[in-house]
């Protein structure tokens, strides 16, 4: 996989290409006016009539507390499933499916105005074909299985919502491809409601020691435990962390080893080179 092509990815452009019958989008946070007025309208006007949004339940409840943020058309124009989770329901997956094709985006993008068009967000896209040529199916099937796992974990989801979600593979039978299991060679990783964390899943595919690790992120945990875990597990010579100083959420009172270096990555989408790997 080649990282960071110069081409920018637009999810809305992909929607507008058409040819999809259903969409399922997962998000931690959502700005419903954006989903309902922009994303959903693109989906519907391009023939994608069965649309589902899965969103973290705590965030959803917060939206309900404000009339500016509440959904207006959920249950009528699309299916909305609030997802409970032990920590947070945080995956950002966009899966658009048709009978013989699809596209999968896995990235950092919440379904918000800033997440889909203003912030600096990364995504990995997989084009999927179940035609003469077959590609991307194992990743899509893995993503679908990941979503199914989360849906199964929701004990209080009404059956109508469950039925709506379960209808997706009928529109894209290739989603039920049997090639997906824990050991298969696909590139989709997600943290399931129970089971190993994302890091534990990825770690097994990484070398035991790294020379240098480059990280970018807007949010860091309160005690910087994740960085310490990476340090412990891969024991790199150096870690370079790119942050946007004006917006980053990071504890300033936690000490890290000298080999951890922070750089200002505010211009990361405009120029390359100062953050190795990007």
């Amino acid at each position: 996989m080649k990282l960071l092509e110069t081409e920018w990815i637009s999810i809305t452009d992909a929607i507008r290409k058409g040819g999809y019958e259903a969409s399922i989008i997962t998000t931690f946070n959502a700005y419903f006016p954006f989903y309902e007025e922009v994303v959903l309208r693109y989906l519907l006007s391009n023939g994608c009539r069965h649309n589902i949004l899965l969103m973290d339940k705590t965030q959803f409840n917060e939206c309900l507390s404000s009339e500016d943020l509440s959904p207006q058309n959920a249950g009528f124009d699309y299916t909305l499933a609030p997802m409970k989770a032990k920590g947070a329901f945080h995956p950002k997956v966009v899966l658009l499916v048709g009978k013989r094709k699809g596209v999968l985006f896995v990235g950092s993008h919440n379904v918000t105005l800033s997440g889909w068009g203003i912030n600096k967000e990364l995504t990995t896209s997989f084009n999927i074909s179940d035609g003469k040529e077959k590609f991307g199916i194992s990743e899509a099937a893995a993503a679908w299985q990941f979503i199914e796992n989360w849906v199964l974990y929701q004990t209080d989801l009404p059956s109508s919502i469950r039925d709506s979600i379960n209808a997706i593979p009928r529109m894209a039978p290739w989603l039920n491809s049997k090639t997906v299991d824990n050991n298969s060679n696909h590139l989709f990783f997600g943290s399931n409601p129970t089971g190993p964390s994302l890091w534990e899943q990825i770690k097994t595919d990484l070398p035991s020691r790294a020379k240098r690790i480059s990280i970018i992120g807007p949010f860091f945990d309160h005690s910087l435990d994740f960085i310490k875990t990476i340090q412990r597990d891969l024991n790199p010579d150096e870690i370079i962390i790119g942050i946007e100083p004006d917006t980053v959420h990071i504890p300033t009172d936690k000490l890290l080893e000298d080999k951890v270096k922070f750089v200002d990555a505010s211009s990361i989408t405009e120029k390359k080179g100062y953050l190795p790997g990007f």
């Binding site: 996989m1 080649k2 990282l3 960071l4 092509e5 081409e7 920018w8 990815i9 637009s10 999810i11 809305t12 452009d13 946070n29 700005y31 006016p33 954006f34 007025e37 922009v38 309208r41 693109y42 404000s66 009339e67 500016d68 943020l69 990235g107 993008h109 919440n110 918000t112 105005l113 800033s114 889909w116 068009g117 203003i118 912030n119 600096k120 967000e121 990364l122 995504t123 990995t124 896209s125 997989f126 084009n127 590609f135 991307g136 990743e139 590139l187 917006t247 989408t269």
Partner: protein, 553 residues
Amino acid sequence: MNPSTNWLKQTRTSGGLDHLGSQAPCINLYGRLLPGITNVTDRGRYYSFYPWFFWAYEKQYPNLVWDEIVERFRRADCLFTLIAERHAQKLGDDNYLHGIAMVGRSTLVEPLRNLTKGESLKLSKYATQEPGNTDRYFKNKLGGLGQYYMGTFVELGLVDLISKKKVVNYTLERGEGIASAFDSGVNRRLFFETIDNDKVDHQVLDQLSPFCPCQLSKNPDEHKALIDLFFDRNNLYDERGKQRRLTLSLLLNLINEFNKNNMDFDQFAFRGVVYTGFLPDQLEWDIHESLIPTQKLWQTYQRNELLSIALQGLFWMALNVLLKTDPKPRTSGEFVSQLIENDFIKDALAGNEAVVFEDAVNKIREELPPIDLWQDSSHEIEIAKTIKRMKNIKNKTKAYTETIKASLQIILLLAARNDQNSNAYANLKYPDGYFDYYPINLYSFQSNLYKIWQKMTLKELLAWLLHKWGIEAHIKIALRKLRHSSKNTFRVYPTEEGLKVNDSIPEPVFTTPRFQQAVQVLRDIDAIYKSDDTARFKLKPLGKSLLDEAIGN
């Protein structure tokens, strides 16, 4: 590439206009009241010159291909402007008759001014399409036609646009007649020789002076053809042509009325008169009954403008306050509930926070400034002008207080003058769903008066306006623009860190109801002139006869 990891494409930011969608009904209204003349169709003679170019070109060079025509067209566009400018220079006249608003003028005036006797200019130097070339007179491939006049001319049936090939030609039905009329008064051969030779000097520009817009009335066939077009004297354009004639006639009537009373006529005077039906200083307006329906429609336009400017003022104030608010509130509702508790809001409401809207309207109705007193500072016409000036007040708190006072006062005055039984947009028909796109309009205003606002206190009303017809209205409009054009026109938008304000906060503005262009067209066809002694517009005999004709005298 499958798979590929990339940055998500960010939306293109764009300045945008009409951030609340409150101006769209006004724009729609003036578009219907003055069809065929727009805010960018500045000069009357382009209505004959551009169709003539394609007609004459066909005669001159029947076998040239489109790219060659474009090249010659661009030279012709430059030459037309240079002729007009040279004519003004030579006669030392008021430029309004010659070069004003001619295409590419800002680029071409200087080289012409520096051109001395015996020297020449190369037209191709300015007609170039080379990107970034500072000598290029216009970026659009078809110059002023492509940028300003095309849509209107297609609508009027003067030219055809074969969109697949982007080829333009005159139409046989309407373009040809006007083109041949233009041709009867100019030296076509010399014009095309000049663009072919790619060289102009004073002598040739002087020889081509019959092309100057000021010479329109000297060419009887063309003059008649353009008068027929603008006043639709042959009833070719149905209701639209009739409405154009009525608005132009209303302007002629007003020019005459203002002149009779020794008063200056400008866009603000126009707004005041059509809104109230009275001339300045409470003078009676001698308006013929056939023009009254048109005046009433312009009155509706102005009423909508007043509503729009009041809300734009509140929006401007709210965004300025939000810009300085830290931490940023999460939602517009949260922000407004903070904002409404500010001291300057209390000052603006001046102890009337708890007064019920309905009572406030009744009270203001008792003290209502007479409708005809529109130059008085208590009249909504004058108050609206003050909102535009608030940005100049250095003391920002004072500016915000005054803006709120002015905006609320306009809302109250509009409510007090509202006729519950009248149709807010007279008998104009709108497509189904039109007002869903533009929720701030006179229908919703009228409906809210009785259904939502009636029992609110003034403080609650203000909060409602700031929230629903302020930030939330903007976000809805900007989301719609994002959907339709993929452009980010948000001036305030929700983020993970709360509501963010774009630095360029839109200032309250009126729409531009094609007033300048309509007056210029009347001037170009020689229906009006500006008198040397008073610098006021007066009717010429043609203007008087056109007015008489329109009102059936």
